[in-house]
């Protein structure tokens, strides 16, 4: 389960019935530098299924692969990216998150969202 920032949403003109009831959002996984220093770099875009009500800018727990379909139980769904939680506070220590030689290793910040 990676951490991802919601950057937009996806609307479908036609979709499978299983997708009803939730929304599809566009998310970008957070890298170590992004978590530790608010750096702008992100991973590759992912479209995730959300039924918790995440909005643009919120950081969510991005469940992927088989586990993303678990919440649907016996219902067969094509979902492989699921919003498992909306993060309130992220506290990452740059000394631990960044490789030793990273230039920015001077501040230690707690970021409350």
């Amino acid at each position: 389960m990676r951490l991802a920032e919601i950057v937009g949403k996806v609307t479908l003109s036609r979709s499978l019935p299983e997708l009803k009831g939730g929304r599809l959002l566009l998310a970008r996984p957070m890298t170590a530098a992004a978590l530790a220093l608010d750096a702008p770099d992100r991973g590759e875009d992912v479209v995730l299924y959300d039924d918790l009500g995440a909005g643009p800018g919120s950081i969510v727990g991005l469940s992927e692969g088989r586990e993303a379909a678990n919440p649907f139980g016996k219902i067969k769904t094509p979902i492989d990216a699921y919003c498992a939680c909306l993060l309130d506070a992220i506290d990452v220590d740059p000394e631990l998150a960044l490789p030793a030689g990273h230039p920015a290793l001077d501040t230690n910040r707690t970021r409350t969202l």
């Binding site: 990676r2 951490l3 631990l96």
Partner: protein
């Protein structure tokens, strides 16, 4: 299973019901040479791992399904705290 380093923690009030009362750590998975492997992940901890600890994460969602119920979207959980000096990025 894969070795990782605890780089921080996170809290979430709005979450999937099976994740209630779970302690969430942010873990950077490591390759065999100790380098970072991909983006940091959220891992669920029952062993009391602290910041900076090296941990062994189970990467199979089965363990979390047994612990938290079949509908849990969780995958990574801390299953061991290796002693220091185990060679990998120690």
């Amino acid at each position: 299973m894969q070795i990782g380093r605890v780089i921080g923690k996170a809290t979430a009030t709005i979450k999937h019901p099976t994740l209630a009362r779970e302690r969430m750590l942010i873990v950077q998975l490591l390759t065999s040479t100790g380098a970072a492997d991909g983006e940091p992940v959220l891992a669920f901890d029952h062993l009391g791992a602290a910041r900076g600890d090296r941990v062994i994460l189970t990467t199979d969602g089965r363990a979390m399904q047994d612990l938290l119920g079949p509908k849990t979207p969780a995958r990574y959980s801390v299953m061991g705290l290796p002693d220091a000096g185990q060679g990998v990025g120690s």
